[in-house]
């Protein structure tokens, strides 16, 4: 079974959250959870001299859902096998087995599994499996106004976009083998050097 992957062009993402809205609308996700999250990275300082500003801040956005990892730590963390790799190679949750213990949430470095108090269960992006099996792309991908997202099998995506999967401040991908290929923003290197942070964690 091929691994699916998202391509995330952080050089073009404006942080508009059309992807997130499309996800909410399609999957009827309530406001307690965000299956797709848009991180705002912010760093850099102002230097003022005689009323003139010389050094500048920088910023970029990372739109992230479930990366359908090749090494899904969420599956390993689940005590009930509710979190499992399903028929179509997509990591999904069997809500009948889920006890809402949140181990998967703690394990996942991308915050993909989230507890939904309304559904009283862990929930997570399922890559719009119902779309994917009919050949459609996930709702978020087809929503992007600047076409900064793409989706397909990992081999399709890496052929088109290469294999870059590191971006500050995302975790080192080595341990997870995420289905994620990234085009870094022009300030990604600077962000790493200056250890830029997520601007407003409460907003995520």
């Amino acid at each position: 079974m091929p691994q699916y992957a998202f391509h995330i062009d952080t050089s073009a993402c404006s942080g508009c959250k059309a992807c997130q809205a499309a996800c909410r609308d399609k999957n009827n996700v309530g406001f307690d959870v965000k299956w797709r999250r848009v991180y705002e990275i912010e760093g850099g300082n102002w230097e003022q001299k005689d009323g003139v500003f010389t050094s500048l801040p920088f910023s970029y956005f990372i739109s992230l859902s479930c990366n359908n990892c090749g090494n899904p730590v969420c599956v390993k963390a689940c005590p009930t096998t509710a979190m499992h790799i399903g028929r179509n190679g997509i990591t999904v949750i069997d809500s009948k087995l889920c006890i809402g213990c949140k181990y998967c949430e703690w394990a996942c470095p991308y915050s993909a599994p989230q507890y939904d108090p309304t559904r009283k269960s862990m929930t997570k992006c399922d890559l719009c499996e119902d779309y994917v099996i009919t050949g459609k792309k996930p709702a978020c991908v087809d929503a992007c106004p600047v076409r900064a997202l793409d989706f397909g099998t990992y081999s399709e995506m890496s052929e088109k976009y290469g294999t870059e999967n590191e971006l500050h401040p995302l975790p080192d991908p080595v341990s997870y083998d995420p289905g994620m290929i990234i085009k870094p923003h022009r300030d990604a290197a600077r962000a790493k050097n200056e250890n830029a942070v997520v601007a407003d964690k409460k907003e995520i």
């Binding site: 050089s11 073009a12 993402c13 404006s14 942080g15 508009c16 959250k17 059309a18 997130q20 809205a21 499309a22 909410r24 609308d25 399609k26 009827n28 996700v29 309530g30 406001f31 912010e42 760093g43 850099g44 300082n45 102002w46 003022q48 009323g51 003139v52 500003f53 010389t54 500048l56 801040p57 910023s59 970029y60 956005f61 309304t118 709702a139 087809d142 929503a143 992007c144 106004p145 600047v146 076409r147 900064a148 923003h185 022009r186 601007a199 407003d200 409460k202 907003e203």
Partner: protein
């Protein structure tokens, strides 16, 4: 399609859903403030079971700059999902029209528990927000009685239908109301808009036309693009504008964003962000001109052939000895050369940066200097429009592929119609500048040419009756709310106010009569592109109007019956669908789009949109550039007027100079007012809203809550931390809102995204975060436009009590 049975089923279900919503939320109408997430839980909890239909339609865009395609899923008469354009292809000539968060979040607005359901009559004091439910019969009686009385007592020119864009198809919104009043003897008219008052008036003084924009696909031919105060990724200035810029970058164009904020566009579309002090753009532009002229980077041939007033050799007759554009830039007359060092102190942009950008713009040709509209909603907004156009002119970036003439830049080769619904002639000829309607309430009879009145020497009435359709201008979107509510709260001034809308907006709370209108999904309409676009959308009725809501057209048609003009109003009995058919078959097909499918065909195809692909983008002013003698502009000289004799003849050189100048604003960091109010406040167009529409949409506002954006330096000085509630105030009023401390805004500037709903506390402090509690009603000198971004304020950490 079995329309009849579906209708019945749909109606019962939508009613049931609303009952469910109401049960969850209790008494809805008069509640203050914002709600919990009822909408979301209902949306996610509702499982429709019937057969699914998918209908393609235009996004209810309101006054968004984009026009996008939605694929609306309907089951049992309920909208269950909203997808967007998935047409095959998606190339530059005919890209998918993908909706933003506003379109994708529409269900939360559509099924909002606060939707107006019944006509309401005021029971308390005006503005108090107390109403009782009445029947449509009684509502129509009141409308009929009040309109007739005011016409009898004062005349038709005392009636006014304000500017409003809360519903904005060719068929919905204020147009039917205008048509009705025109049949009844007319009403006071207006001209211009709140969006681009200054550029709308100033651009023709330079070019003799508003059509100064190339079709957007032409940006891919540019080598250098300046996004000057332009934020298409957020404001959606044209569906796909951001994507076209991305494509231009992929082809090698360098892009620069000049803006006080590191906007979403600065992050995603620009190679470089240059922060600039608000209201000083014309100073930087003048300094760029100084560099370009001093370093001989001008396109002399273009200037000689196509411009007028550049230097002393080409001054118009009778002005031979006046100050030319070049005189001003070099400081020949005023002794102030507009050097980058001069501009640095004003703009806060380093002189070296100004010099570099000037060189890049003048040498990396063809180049685009795209002006956003925020910079012209300012005290001297007219100047910046002309200063930008002058840069395009002296570098010869006009009339060529990949260039851009700047100015308003309505699309060459055919602009949208905006509205095609026939409103008929207004027997009242007098028109006021749109921004001056409160003046026309308090002293209309004193208003004449000096206040920009057109069509009459003087108004013969003060406004006595307001019928506000799909508009939040009465309170929320006009300047200086505390002043506005005093004026419209006085029943001796405006004697009757009717508001027709989807929600009990801050404006609707000031109504004597509230008429519940349905949404765009619940009636028929036709949309076309905003400033750009080669698209015509057919927006069919997708679900039934819930409860007693009706379309704007239906309300007016019912009223027409009361007035005995139903036949004339409906043109012999046309309903909404028949008008949509008329607009497509009799208007679009007979004017700009003769090749487009007929109404029936378009409807049956369920395409939702007709698009004319653009493979060879039209370039504005190309014929003029080629042969200015044969294709003169409609300016007095037939050329691009860097010096304008008509403006010179106005004899107000301090505020309306004949050449574009930087003028210090009436409220600025450079005046004594800065001692008390040291921060500039701007109110940018915010991603989750279209003006004030969607402010009550939890789905958009959850993603982008209303906030005051403040630089960490300014926050630090005031002991303000990220997430604190802050109080922002000046002499006109005060607001309280949560703040976001950020490095992405210039120190000395705060941003309060415009459009939040006014929500006053007992002492009049606004807790909605509406910037108009702080803005001024003073109008710009030439356009009589709104200067809502020119304000100085102070900020402190908010402490209750």
């Amino acid at each position: 399609m079995n329309a009849v049975t579906e209708k019945t089923r749909g109606n019962s279900f939508s009613r049931r859903l609303f009952v469910k919503l109401s049960a969850l939320t209790g008494a809805l109408l008069l509640r203050k403030g914002k709600k919990s997430d009822d909408t979301a839980s209902v949306l996610s909890g509702y499982l429709a079971s019937g057969e699914e239909k998918i209908i393609r339609t235009g996004c209810p865009a309101h006054n968004c700059g984009g026009r996008c395609l939605l694929k609306v899923h309907v089951r049992d008469g309920i909208i269950t999902r909203i997808e967007t354009d998935d047409r095959p292809g998606d190339d530059v000539s005919d890209p998918r029209l993908r909706a933003c968060i506003r379109g994708r979040s529409y269900r939360a607005r559509q099924y909002h528990p606060d939707r107006l359901k019944y006509p309401l009559k005021r029971t308390g004091k005006r503005g108090e927000g107390k109403f009782e439910r009445i029947s449509w019969d009684e509502a129509y009686d009141i409308m009929h009685r009040e309109i007739s009385r005011v016409v009898r007592q004062y005349g038709n020119s005392a009636l006014f239908i304000p500017y409003g864009t809360g519903s904005y198809t060719n068929l919905n919104g204020r147009w039917p109301a205008v048509r009705l009043l025109n049949l009844l003897g007319g009403s006071l008219g207006y001209y211009n808009s709140y969006s681009w008052a200054c550029t709308n008036i100033a651009t023709p003084y330079v070019y003799g036309t508003l059509n100064t924009g190339n079709q957007r696909q032409d940006w891919l031919n540019s080598r250098y693009i300046i996004l000057w105060g332009w934020n298409p990724a957020e404001m959606i200035d044209g569906t796909n504008s951001a994507w076209f810029i991305k494509k231009a970058r992929e082809k090698g164009a360098r892009t620069v964003c000049i803006d006080p904020r590191m906007s979403m566009s600065a992050v995603a579309l620009a190679d470089e962000w240059i922060p600039i002090r608000p209201g000083t753009d014309a100073a930087m532009m003048s300094a760029m001109a100084w560099v370009i002229i001093s370093e001989k980077l001008t396109d002399d041939d273009f200037i000689r052939r196509c411009c007028s007033g550049y230097d002393s050799t080409q001054m118009p007759k009778g002005c031979e000895n006046e100050e030319s554009y070049k005189d001003y830039i070099l400081g020949t007359r005023d002794g102030i050369p507009k050097t980058p060092q001069w501009a640095e102190k004003i703009t806060a942009v380093p002189a070296a940066t100004i010099t570099r950008i000037a060189r890049e713009y003048a040498t990396l040709k063809p180049a685009v200097l795209y002006q956003g509209y925020g910079m012209q909603r300012r005290a001297y907004g007219e100047q910046v429009v002309r200063a930008g156009a002058a840069l395009s002119a002296i570098t010869g970036n006009i009339g060529i592929p990949g260039g851009w003439a700047s100015g308003l830049a309505s699309q060459a080769g055919g602009e949208p119609f905006w509205t095609t619904f026939p409103m008929g002639d207004n027997p009242v000829k007098a028109r006021i500048p749109v921004f001056l309607w409160t003046e026309a309430i308090i002293r209309g009879k004193e208003m004449g040419a000096a206040e920009g009145v057109r069509g009459a020497d003087r108004l013969d009435n003060n406004i006595k009756l307001i019928w506000s359709v799909a508009s939040n201008i009465l309170v929320n979107q006009h300047s200086n709310i505390n002043r506005t509510i005093k004026i419209i709260g006085d029943e001796k001034l405006v004697e009757f106010i009717a508001v027709q809308d989807n929600f009990l907006t801050p404006s609707a709370k000031y109504a004597d009569l509230v008429l519940p209108a349905c949404t765009q999904f619940e009636t028929w309409g036709v949309e076309d592109g905003w400033k750009y676009g080669e698209e015509v959308f057919l927006t069919p009725q997708i679900v039934d109007p819930p409860y007693e809501t009706k379309s704007d057209y239906r309300i007016c048609a019912d009223l027409a019956k009361r007035f005995g003009v139903w036949d004339e109003f409906t043109a012999g009995g046309k309903d909404e669908k028949a008008w949509a058919e008329w607009i497509i078959n009799e208007y679009y097909r007979k004017t700009r789009f003769p090749e487009m499918p007929k109404f029936k065909e378009l409807l049956e195809s369920n395409a939702g949109v007709y698009v004319r692909p653009v493979s060879e983008p039209v370039v504005a002013l190309a014929a003029f550039r080629k042969d200015p003698g044969k294709h003169p502009l409609s300016t007095p000289t037939g050329k691009i007027e860097l010096f304008s004799k008509p403006l010179f003849d106005m004899k107000q050189p301090g505020e309306i100079p004949a050449v574009p100048k930087y003028i210090t604003e009436w409220e600025s960091p450079f005046g004594s007012e800065a001692e008390k109010y040291p921060l500039q406040a701007i109110g940018h167009h915010y991603m989750p809203r279209v003006h004030s529409t969607h402010d009550n949409n939890e789905m958009t506002m959850n993603a982008f809550p209303q906030k005051v954006y403040i630089n960490e330096t300014d926050a630090g000085k005031r002991n303000i931390r990220n997430g604190d509630m802050v109080r922002v105030w000046n002499d006109r009023g005060a607001l309280v809102a949560k703040c976001k401390v950020t490095s992405k805004i210039l120190p000395g500037v705060i941003d309060i995204p415009q459009g939040a709903w006014y929500n006053p506390g007992e002492d009049g402090t606004d807790f909605g975060g509406n910037i108009n509690i702080l803005t001024t009603e003073r109008w710009t000198p030439l356009a009589k436009g709104n200067p809502q971004h020119t304000i100085m304020v102070q900020v402190e950490k908010y402490r209750k009590g």
